[in-house]
Protein backbone atom coordinates (compact mmCIF):
# COMPACT_ATOMS: atom_id res chain seq x y z
CA UNK A 1 0.00 0.00 0.00
CA UNK A 2 1.19 3.47 -0.81
CA UNK A 3 1.01 5.33 2.44
CA UNK A 4 3.46 8.02 1.48
CA UNK A 5 1.86 11.18 0.17
CA UNK A 6 3.33 12.29 -3.08
CA UNK A 7 3.17 15.94 -4.02
CA UNK A 8 1.02 16.63 -7.03
CA UNK A 9 3.08 17.28 -10.10
CA UNK A 10 1.38 18.31 -13.28
CA UNK A 11 2.78 17.05 -16.56
CA UNK A 12 2.49 20.49 -18.14
CA UNK A 13 5.33 21.89 -16.07
CA UNK A 14 7.72 20.67 -18.74
CA UNK A 15 10.59 20.53 -16.32
CA UNK A 16 9.89 17.01 -15.24
CA UNK A 17 11.88 14.44 -17.08
CA UNK A 18 10.97 11.10 -15.54
CA UNK A 19 7.94 9.20 -16.70
CA UNK A 20 5.18 8.62 -14.20
CA UNK A 21 5.62 5.16 -12.84
CA UNK A 22 2.17 4.88 -11.33
CA UNK A 23 -1.11 6.66 -10.83
CA UNK A 24 -2.28 7.18 -7.29
CA UNK A 25 -5.77 8.60 -6.75
CA UNK A 26 -5.70 9.94 -10.26
CA UNK A 27 -2.36 11.65 -9.84
CA UNK A 28 0.82 10.53 -11.58
CA UNK A 29 3.66 9.45 -9.38
CA UNK A 30 7.00 10.25 -10.94
CA UNK A 31 9.41 9.12 -8.30
CA UNK A 32 9.39 6.34 -5.85
CA UNK A 33 9.03 7.38 -2.24
CA UNK A 34 12.30 6.63 -0.53
CA UNK A 35 10.75 4.59 2.22
CA UNK A 36 8.57 2.59 -0.12
CA UNK A 37 9.31 -1.10 -0.14
CA UNK A 38 8.65 -2.71 -3.47
CA UNK A 39 8.82 -6.47 -3.63
CA UNK A 40 10.99 -7.38 -6.62
CA UNK A 41 8.17 -9.28 -8.34
CA UNK A 42 5.94 -6.23 -8.33
CA UNK A 43 8.12 -4.52 -10.90
CA UNK A 44 7.20 -7.07 -13.49
CA UNK A 45 3.83 -5.39 -13.44
CA UNK A 46 5.38 -2.09 -14.50
CA UNK A 47 7.34 -3.72 -17.29
CA UNK A 48 4.42 -5.85 -18.39
CA UNK A 49 2.36 -2.73 -18.80
CA UNK A 50 4.46 -2.00 -21.87
CA UNK A 51 4.61 -4.41 -24.74
CA UNK A 52 8.22 -3.55 -25.50
CA UNK A 53 10.45 -0.57 -26.19
CA UNK A 54 8.27 0.72 -29.04
CA UNK A 55 5.26 0.68 -26.75
CA UNK A 56 7.19 2.48 -24.03
CA UNK A 57 8.42 5.12 -26.50
CA UNK A 58 4.91 5.64 -27.83
CA UNK A 59 3.71 6.07 -24.29
CA UNK A 60 6.36 8.71 -23.58
CA UNK A 61 5.52 10.57 -26.79
CA UNK A 62 1.75 10.50 -26.23
CA UNK A 63 2.07 11.24 -22.55
CA UNK A 64 3.91 14.45 -23.25
CA UNK A 65 1.87 15.42 -26.31
CA UNK A 66 4.90 15.24 -28.56
CA UNK A 67 4.62 15.13 -32.33
CA UNK A 68 5.48 11.65 -33.49
CA UNK A 69 6.67 13.07 -36.83
CA UNK A 70 9.04 15.50 -35.12
CA UNK A 71 10.21 13.72 -32.03
CA UNK A 72 12.41 15.87 -29.77
CA UNK A 73 14.92 13.08 -29.62
CA UNK A 74 17.01 14.48 -26.79
CA UNK A 75 14.01 14.85 -24.52
CA UNK A 76 12.57 11.45 -25.33
CA UNK A 77 15.93 9.77 -24.94
CA UNK A 78 16.37 11.32 -21.53
CA UNK A 79 12.97 10.11 -20.40
CA UNK A 80 13.52 6.70 -21.87
CA UNK A 81 16.85 6.35 -20.12
CA UNK A 82 15.36 7.49 -16.84
CA UNK A 83 12.80 4.76 -17.12
CA UNK A 84 15.39 2.15 -18.04
CA UNK A 85 17.60 3.24 -15.15
CA UNK A 86 14.69 2.91 -12.81
CA UNK A 87 13.97 -0.60 -14.00
CA UNK A 88 17.61 -1.62 -14.06
CA UNK A 89 18.14 -0.41 -10.54
CA UNK A 90 15.45 -2.74 -9.37
CA UNK A 91 15.37 -5.56 -11.82
CA UNK A 92 18.43 -7.09 -13.37
CA UNK A 93 17.13 -9.15 -16.22
CA UNK A 94 15.63 -6.32 -18.23
CA UNK A 95 14.57 -7.53 -21.65
CA UNK A 96 17.36 -7.04 -24.16
CA UNK A 97 15.09 -5.17 -26.55
CA UNK A 98 14.87 -2.26 -24.13
CA UNK A 99 18.62 -1.92 -24.05
CA UNK A 100 18.89 -2.22 -27.81
CA UNK A 101 16.42 0.63 -28.17
CA UNK A 102 18.46 2.73 -25.76
CA UNK A 103 21.42 2.26 -28.09
CA UNK A 104 19.33 3.24 -31.09
CA UNK A 105 18.16 6.41 -29.34
CA UNK A 106 21.69 7.33 -28.34
CA UNK A 107 22.87 6.87 -31.90
CA UNK A 108 20.11 9.03 -33.34
CA UNK A 109 20.76 11.67 -30.75
CA UNK A 110 24.45 11.82 -31.62
CA UNK A 111 23.71 12.00 -35.35
CA UNK A 112 21.28 14.86 -34.74
CA UNK A 113 24.10 16.75 -33.05
CA UNK A 114 26.37 16.51 -36.04
CA UNK A 115 26.48 19.61 -38.21
CA UNK A 116 24.24 19.46 -41.29
CA UNK A 117 26.07 19.13 -44.60
CA UNK A 118 26.48 22.36 -46.54
CA UNK A 119 23.71 23.36 -48.92
CA UNK A 120 24.00 21.78 -52.34
CA UNK A 121 25.36 18.52 -51.05
CA UNK A 122 23.18 15.37 -51.06
CA UNK A 123 20.67 16.03 -48.26
CA UNK A 124 21.08 13.42 -45.58
CA UNK A 125 17.96 11.53 -44.49
CA UNK A 126 16.51 12.39 -41.13
CA UNK A 127 18.22 10.00 -38.71
CA UNK A 128 14.90 9.68 -36.93
CA UNK A 129 13.04 8.45 -40.01
CA UNK A 130 13.47 4.73 -39.42
CA UNK A 131 12.47 5.00 -35.78
CA UNK A 132 9.43 7.10 -36.68
CA UNK A 133 8.41 4.58 -39.33
CA UNK A 134 8.67 1.73 -36.81
CA UNK A 135 6.76 3.66 -34.17
CA UNK A 136 3.99 4.53 -36.61
CA UNK A 137 3.78 0.98 -37.90
CA UNK A 138 3.68 -0.41 -34.40
CA UNK A 139 1.01 2.08 -33.40
CA UNK A 140 -1.18 0.99 -36.33
CA UNK A 141 -1.22 -2.59 -35.10
CA UNK A 142 -1.57 -1.56 -31.50
CA UNK A 143 -4.72 0.34 -32.52
CA UNK A 144 -5.82 -2.55 -34.71
CA UNK A 145 -5.45 -4.87 -31.72
CA UNK A 146 -7.69 -2.56 -29.71
CA UNK A 147 -10.14 -2.63 -32.61
CA UNK A 148 -10.22 -6.41 -32.61
CA UNK A 149 -10.59 -6.43 -28.84
CA UNK A 150 -13.62 -4.15 -29.22
CA UNK A 151 -15.38 -6.44 -31.69
CA UNK A 152 -18.37 -8.29 -30.31
CA UNK A 153 -17.10 -11.79 -29.68
CA UNK A 154 -18.10 -15.17 -28.39
CA UNK A 155 -18.02 -15.69 -24.64
CA UNK A 156 -18.40 -11.96 -24.06
CA UNK A 157 -21.03 -10.18 -26.20
CA UNK A 158 -22.34 -13.11 -28.16
CA UNK A 159 -23.48 -16.54 -27.09
CA UNK A 160 -24.46 -19.16 -29.64
CA UNK A 161 -27.97 -20.48 -29.16
CA UNK A 162 -28.08 -24.20 -28.58
CA UNK A 163 -31.16 -26.34 -28.21
CA UNK A 164 -30.48 -29.73 -26.73
CA UNK A 165 -31.67 -32.52 -28.97
CA UNK A 166 -32.53 -35.18 -26.37
CA UNK A 167 -32.62 -38.12 -28.77
CA UNK A 168 -28.97 -37.61 -29.53
CA UNK A 169 -28.02 -37.80 -25.89
CA UNK A 170 -29.37 -41.20 -24.96
CA UNK A 171 -29.96 -41.21 -21.27
CA UNK A 172 -32.09 -44.05 -19.95
CA UNK A 173 -33.66 -43.43 -16.57
CA UNK A 174 -32.61 -45.89 -13.92
CA UNK A 175 -35.61 -48.03 -12.87
CA UNK A 176 -36.68 -47.85 -9.26
CA UNK A 177 -36.33 -51.28 -7.67
CA UNK A 178 -38.95 -51.88 -4.99
CA UNK A 179 -38.83 -54.51 -2.29
CA UNK A 180 -41.69 -56.41 -3.94
CA UNK A 181 -39.83 -56.59 -7.24
CA UNK A 182 -36.78 -57.82 -5.43
CA UNK A 183 -38.89 -60.50 -3.73
CA UNK A 184 -40.35 -61.59 -7.04
CA UNK A 185 -36.92 -61.85 -8.56
CA UNK A 186 -35.79 -63.97 -5.64
CA UNK A 187 -38.76 -66.31 -6.04
CA UNK A 188 -37.97 -66.67 -9.74
CA UNK A 189 -34.45 -67.68 -8.92
CA UNK A 190 -35.71 -70.24 -6.45
CA UNK A 191 -38.14 -71.67 -9.04
CA UNK A 192 -35.41 -71.85 -11.62
CA UNK A 193 -33.22 -73.67 -9.14
CA UNK A 194 -36.01 -76.17 -8.52
CA UNK A 195 -36.54 -76.73 -12.20
CA UNK A 196 -32.85 -77.26 -12.53
CA UNK A 197 -32.99 -80.01 -9.92
CA UNK A 198 -35.95 -81.68 -11.67
CA UNK A 199 -34.38 -81.59 -15.04
CA UNK A 200 -30.97 -82.56 -13.94
CA UNK A 201 -29.72 -85.28 -16.24
CA UNK A 202 -28.21 -88.06 -14.22
CA UNK A 203 -26.14 -90.78 -15.68
CA UNK A 204 -28.45 -93.06 -17.64
CA UNK A 205 -28.75 -96.35 -15.76
CA UNK A 206 -29.74 -98.16 -18.95
CA UNK A 207 -26.93 -97.77 -21.39
CA UNK A 208 -27.68 -97.28 -25.06
CA UNK A 209 -24.95 -99.68 -26.07
CA UNK A 210 -26.45 -102.36 -23.89
CA UNK A 211 -29.88 -101.88 -25.45
CA UNK A 212 -28.39 -101.98 -28.95
CA UNK A 213 -27.11 -105.49 -28.23
CA UNK A 214 -30.53 -106.43 -26.88
CA UNK A 215 -32.31 -105.21 -30.01
CA UNK A 216 -29.92 -107.08 -32.26
CA UNK A 217 -30.58 -110.24 -30.20
CA UNK A 218 -34.33 -109.80 -30.63
CA UNK A 219 -33.89 -109.38 -34.37
CA UNK A 220 -31.75 -112.48 -34.51
CA UNK A 221 -34.66 -114.39 -33.01
CA UNK A 222 -37.34 -112.73 -35.08
CA UNK A 223 -35.77 -111.11 -38.18
CA UNK A 224 -38.85 -109.09 -38.91
CA UNK A 225 -40.05 -107.33 -35.78
CA UNK A 226 -42.60 -104.57 -35.44
CA UNK A 227 -41.04 -101.30 -34.37
CA UNK A 228 -43.37 -100.96 -31.38
CA UNK A 229 -42.44 -104.37 -30.06
CA UNK A 230 -38.87 -103.30 -29.49
CA UNK A 231 -40.04 -101.09 -26.63
CA UNK A 232 -40.85 -102.25 -23.13
CA UNK A 233 -43.42 -99.79 -21.90
CA UNK A 234 -43.11 -100.70 -18.21
CA UNK A 235 -39.53 -99.49 -18.21
CA UNK A 236 -41.06 -96.08 -18.26
CA UNK A 237 -40.15 -93.01 -20.22
CA UNK A 238 -36.46 -93.45 -19.73
CA UNK A 239 -36.45 -97.02 -21.00
CA UNK A 240 -38.40 -95.99 -24.10
CA UNK A 241 -35.98 -93.18 -24.82
CA UNK A 242 -32.99 -95.47 -24.44
CA UNK A 243 -34.57 -98.06 -26.75
CA UNK A 244 -35.28 -95.41 -29.36
CA UNK A 245 -31.74 -94.06 -29.14
CA UNK A 246 -30.43 -97.62 -29.54
CA UNK A 247 -32.53 -98.17 -32.68
CA UNK A 248 -31.33 -94.87 -34.16
CA UNK A 249 -27.75 -95.70 -33.33
CA UNK A 250 -28.08 -99.15 -34.98
CA UNK A 251 -29.60 -97.54 -38.04
CA UNK A 252 -26.75 -95.12 -38.28
CA UNK A 253 -24.27 -97.93 -38.08
CA UNK A 254 -26.25 -99.74 -40.82
CA UNK A 255 -26.82 -102.80 -38.63
CA UNK A 256 -30.59 -102.72 -39.02
CA UNK A 257 -33.11 -101.45 -41.52
CA UNK A 258 -36.43 -99.84 -40.91
CA UNK A 259 -39.11 -100.63 -43.44
CA UNK A 260 -42.67 -99.59 -44.02
CA UNK A 261 -44.75 -101.39 -46.58
CA UNK A 262 -47.29 -98.66 -47.16
CA UNK A 263 -47.90 -95.07 -46.11
CA UNK A 264 -49.23 -94.81 -42.53
CA UNK A 265 -48.69 -98.57 -42.20
CA UNK A 266 -46.88 -100.29 -39.32
CA UNK A 267 -43.10 -99.90 -39.20
CA UNK A 268 -40.97 -102.99 -39.06
CA UNK A 269 -37.37 -103.38 -38.11
CA UNK A 270 -35.17 -106.08 -39.56
CA UNK A 271 -31.50 -106.97 -39.36
CA UNK A 272 -29.42 -105.68 -42.20
CA UNK A 273 -28.63 -108.20 -44.83
Amino acid sequence: MVSHTVPDTTPETGSETSAPIAMFRGRPITELPHDLYIPPDALEVILEAFEGPLDLLLYLIRRHNLDILDIPIAEVTEQYMAYIDLLQGLRLDLAAEYLAMAAVLAEIKSRMLLPRPAAGAEPEADPRAELIRRLQEYERYKDAAAGIDALPRLEREVHPVMVAFPDRQVRRPEPVVGLAALGRAYVEVLLAAERYVHHHITREPLSVRERMVLVLGRLAEAPYTAFTQLFTVDEGRRGVVVAFLAILELLRESLIEVVQSEPQGPIYVKAAA
Binding site: D67, D126, Y141, A144, A145, L151
Partner: protein, 205 residues
Protein backbone atom coordinates in the same frame (compact mmCIF):
# COMPACT_ATOMS: atom_id res chain seq x y z
CA UNK B 1 -40.62 -28.68 -50.71
CA UNK B 2 -42.28 -25.38 -50.22
CA UNK B 3 -40.49 -22.50 -48.50
CA UNK B 4 -43.01 -22.81 -45.67
CA UNK B 5 -41.85 -26.38 -45.10
CA UNK B 6 -38.15 -25.64 -45.45
CA UNK B 7 -38.00 -22.73 -43.03
CA UNK B 8 -38.83 -24.55 -39.77
CA UNK B 9 -36.43 -27.36 -40.63
CA UNK B 10 -33.61 -24.89 -41.15
CA UNK B 11 -34.51 -23.05 -37.98
CA UNK B 12 -34.42 -26.25 -35.94
CA UNK B 13 -31.26 -27.55 -37.63
CA UNK B 14 -29.35 -24.37 -36.81
CA UNK B 15 -30.45 -24.61 -33.19
CA UNK B 16 -29.41 -28.23 -32.62
CA UNK B 17 -26.32 -28.43 -34.83
CA UNK B 18 -24.02 -26.92 -32.21
CA UNK B 19 -21.89 -25.20 -34.89
CA UNK B 20 -22.53 -22.79 -37.75
CA UNK B 21 -24.04 -24.44 -40.82
CA UNK B 22 -23.32 -23.25 -44.34
CA UNK B 23 -25.87 -23.15 -47.16
CA UNK B 24 -24.39 -26.33 -48.64
CA UNK B 25 -24.85 -28.32 -45.47
CA UNK B 26 -28.36 -26.98 -45.01
CA UNK B 27 -29.26 -27.79 -48.62
CA UNK B 28 -27.96 -31.33 -48.11
CA UNK B 29 -30.76 -31.87 -45.58
CA UNK B 30 -33.24 -31.71 -48.43
CA UNK B 31 -31.55 -34.01 -50.93
CA UNK B 32 -30.35 -33.25 -54.39
CA UNK B 33 -33.18 -31.10 -55.72
CA UNK B 34 -32.21 -28.48 -58.24
CA UNK B 35 -32.65 -24.99 -56.95
CA UNK B 36 -32.69 -26.05 -53.31
CA UNK B 37 -29.77 -23.72 -52.62
CA UNK B 38 -31.81 -20.71 -53.65
CA UNK B 39 -34.74 -21.88 -51.53
CA UNK B 40 -32.50 -22.38 -48.51
CA UNK B 41 -31.07 -18.90 -48.94
CA UNK B 42 -34.58 -17.51 -49.25
CA UNK B 43 -35.63 -19.30 -46.07
CA UNK B 44 -32.55 -17.95 -44.24
CA UNK B 45 -33.43 -14.42 -45.31
CA UNK B 46 -36.99 -14.85 -44.06
CA UNK B 47 -35.76 -16.32 -40.79
CA UNK B 48 -33.45 -13.35 -40.29
CA UNK B 49 -36.44 -11.04 -40.63
CA UNK B 50 -38.52 -13.23 -38.32
CA UNK B 51 -35.91 -12.78 -35.61
CA UNK B 52 -35.39 -9.06 -36.22
CA UNK B 53 -37.11 -8.04 -32.99
CA UNK B 54 -36.03 -10.95 -30.82
CA UNK B 55 -33.29 -11.50 -28.25
CA UNK B 56 -31.81 -14.02 -30.63
CA UNK B 57 -30.50 -13.16 -34.07
CA UNK B 58 -29.55 -15.15 -37.12
CA UNK B 59 -25.98 -14.26 -38.02
CA UNK B 60 -23.72 -15.37 -40.81
CA UNK B 61 -20.11 -15.94 -39.77
CA UNK B 62 -17.22 -17.52 -41.64
CA UNK B 63 -18.31 -21.12 -41.27
CA UNK B 64 -21.99 -20.54 -41.89
CA UNK B 65 -25.15 -19.37 -40.18
CA UNK B 66 -25.79 -19.54 -36.47
CA UNK B 67 -28.37 -18.33 -34.03
CA UNK B 68 -26.81 -16.20 -31.33
CA UNK B 69 -27.81 -13.82 -28.61
CA UNK B 70 -27.95 -10.18 -29.51
CA UNK B 71 -24.65 -8.49 -28.51
CA UNK B 72 -26.48 -5.72 -26.62
CA UNK B 73 -27.93 -8.20 -24.17
CA UNK B 74 -24.55 -9.36 -22.87
CA UNK B 75 -24.53 -7.19 -19.71
CA UNK B 76 -27.59 -9.06 -18.44
CA UNK B 77 -26.83 -12.49 -19.85
CA UNK B 78 -23.31 -12.56 -18.46
CA UNK B 79 -24.77 -12.41 -14.96
CA UNK B 80 -25.89 -15.99 -15.52
CA UNK B 81 -22.33 -17.17 -15.03
CA UNK B 82 -19.94 -16.57 -12.22
CA UNK B 83 -16.83 -16.52 -14.37
CA UNK B 84 -16.04 -13.29 -16.12
CA UNK B 85 -15.68 -13.39 -19.89
CA UNK B 86 -12.10 -14.25 -20.87
CA UNK B 87 -9.73 -11.33 -21.40
CA UNK B 88 -6.76 -11.45 -23.68
CA UNK B 89 -3.42 -9.76 -23.09
CA UNK B 90 -2.24 -6.83 -25.21
CA UNK B 91 0.62 -8.99 -26.41
CA UNK B 92 -1.77 -11.67 -27.66
CA UNK B 93 -4.12 -9.18 -29.29
CA UNK B 94 -1.27 -7.34 -31.00
CA UNK B 95 0.14 -10.59 -32.32
CA UNK B 96 -3.31 -11.63 -33.51
CA UNK B 97 -3.87 -8.23 -35.16
CA UNK B 98 -0.59 -8.43 -37.04
CA UNK B 99 -1.42 -11.92 -38.30
CA UNK B 100 -4.96 -10.91 -39.21
CA UNK B 101 -4.02 -7.77 -41.16
CA UNK B 102 -0.66 -8.83 -42.55
CA UNK B 103 -1.17 -12.52 -43.21
CA UNK B 104 0.64 -14.58 -44.20
CA UNK B 105 3.39 -13.63 -41.76
CA UNK B 106 6.29 -15.31 -40.01
CA UNK B 107 7.21 -15.10 -36.38
CA UNK B 108 10.07 -12.79 -37.42
CA UNK B 109 7.64 -10.41 -39.16
CA UNK B 110 5.61 -10.16 -35.96
CA UNK B 111 8.69 -9.60 -33.81
CA UNK B 112 10.01 -6.89 -36.15
CA UNK B 113 6.74 -5.02 -35.99
CA UNK B 114 6.31 -5.25 -32.25
CA UNK B 115 9.98 -4.68 -31.46
CA UNK B 116 10.06 -7.54 -28.99
CA UNK B 117 10.70 -11.24 -29.04
CA UNK B 118 7.44 -13.15 -28.94
CA UNK B 119 6.85 -14.76 -25.59
CA UNK B 120 7.05 -18.51 -25.54
CA UNK B 121 3.67 -20.05 -26.08
CA UNK B 122 2.13 -16.99 -27.72
CA UNK B 123 1.77 -18.58 -31.13
CA UNK B 124 1.09 -21.92 -29.49
CA UNK B 125 -1.86 -20.42 -27.64
CA UNK B 126 -3.26 -18.98 -30.86
CA UNK B 127 -2.70 -22.28 -32.67
CA UNK B 128 -4.37 -24.22 -29.91
CA UNK B 129 -7.38 -21.93 -30.00
CA UNK B 130 -7.40 -22.63 -33.74
CA UNK B 131 -7.45 -18.92 -34.47
CA UNK B 132 -4.31 -19.22 -36.60
CA UNK B 133 -2.70 -22.00 -38.59
CA UNK B 134 0.52 -22.66 -40.48
CA UNK B 135 -0.21 -22.15 -44.16
CA UNK B 136 3.29 -22.81 -45.45
CA UNK B 137 6.95 -21.99 -45.07
CA UNK B 138 8.82 -19.02 -46.45
CA UNK B 139 11.58 -20.05 -48.84
CA UNK B 140 14.36 -18.30 -46.96
CA UNK B 141 17.08 -19.80 -44.76
CA UNK B 142 15.45 -21.58 -41.86
CA UNK B 143 12.19 -21.96 -43.79
CA UNK B 144 10.14 -20.19 -41.10
CA UNK B 145 6.49 -21.15 -40.76
CA UNK B 146 4.01 -18.71 -42.26
CA UNK B 147 0.87 -18.04 -40.26
CA UNK B 148 -2.65 -17.03 -41.26
CA UNK B 149 -5.95 -16.73 -39.43
CA UNK B 150 -8.67 -19.39 -39.63
CA UNK B 151 -12.45 -19.27 -40.18
CA UNK B 152 -12.72 -20.15 -36.48
CA UNK B 153 -11.03 -16.85 -35.64
CA UNK B 154 -13.65 -15.03 -37.71
CA UNK B 155 -16.45 -17.01 -36.06
CA UNK B 156 -15.15 -16.08 -32.63
CA UNK B 157 -15.03 -12.40 -33.45
CA UNK B 158 -18.45 -12.47 -35.06
CA UNK B 159 -17.12 -11.87 -38.57
CA UNK B 160 -17.95 -13.35 -41.94
CA UNK B 161 -14.80 -12.40 -43.82
CA UNK B 162 -11.51 -10.66 -43.09
CA UNK B 163 -12.80 -7.62 -44.94
CA UNK B 164 -15.22 -7.07 -42.05
CA UNK B 165 -12.31 -6.37 -39.70
CA UNK B 166 -12.11 -2.72 -38.67
CA UNK B 167 -9.97 -0.87 -41.21
CA UNK B 168 -6.32 -0.74 -40.32
CA UNK B 169 -5.47 2.80 -39.21
CA UNK B 170 -3.51 4.72 -41.83
CA UNK B 171 -0.18 6.24 -40.96
CA UNK B 172 0.59 9.85 -41.57
CA UNK B 173 3.36 10.28 -44.10
CA UNK B 174 6.63 11.26 -42.52
CA UNK B 175 7.38 13.90 -45.16
CA UNK B 176 5.38 17.12 -45.36
CA UNK B 177 3.18 16.55 -42.32
CA UNK B 178 1.40 19.90 -42.75
CA UNK B 179 -0.34 18.81 -45.98
CA UNK B 180 -1.97 15.75 -44.50
CA UNK B 181 -4.56 17.09 -42.15
CA UNK B 182 -7.57 17.72 -44.45
CA UNK B 183 -7.42 14.61 -46.64
CA UNK B 184 -6.29 12.05 -44.11
CA UNK B 185 -9.65 10.94 -42.66
CA UNK B 186 -11.15 10.07 -46.05
CA UNK B 187 -8.15 8.06 -47.07
CA UNK B 188 -8.08 6.23 -43.78
CA UNK B 189 -11.65 4.98 -44.19
CA UNK B 190 -11.40 3.39 -47.60
CA UNK B 191 -8.08 1.63 -47.68
CA UNK B 192 -7.26 -1.62 -46.05
CA UNK B 193 -4.16 -3.69 -46.54
CA UNK B 194 -5.81 -6.97 -47.33
CA UNK B 195 -5.30 -8.54 -50.71
CA UNK B 196 -8.53 -10.16 -51.92
CA UNK B 197 -6.73 -13.41 -52.65
CA UNK B 198 -5.89 -13.91 -49.03
CA UNK B 199 -9.42 -13.14 -47.93
CA UNK B 200 -10.91 -15.71 -50.25
CA UNK B 201 -8.38 -18.38 -49.45
CA UNK B 202 -8.76 -18.12 -45.73
CA UNK B 203 -12.53 -17.97 -45.74
CA UNK B 204 -12.63 -21.12 -47.84
CA UNK B 205 -10.48 -23.36 -45.66
Amino acid sequence: MSPEEIKPIIEAALMVAGEPLGVDRLAALFGEDDGIHAEVEQALATLREDYAERGIELREVAQGFRFQTRPGLAPWLNRLWEEKPPRYSHALLETLAIIAYRQPVTRGDIEDLRGVVLGTGMLKTLLEREWIRVVGHREVPGRPAVYATTPKFLDYFNLRTLSELPPLPETLPIEAPEEVAPSAPAAAQGEMELPDVVVGEVAEG
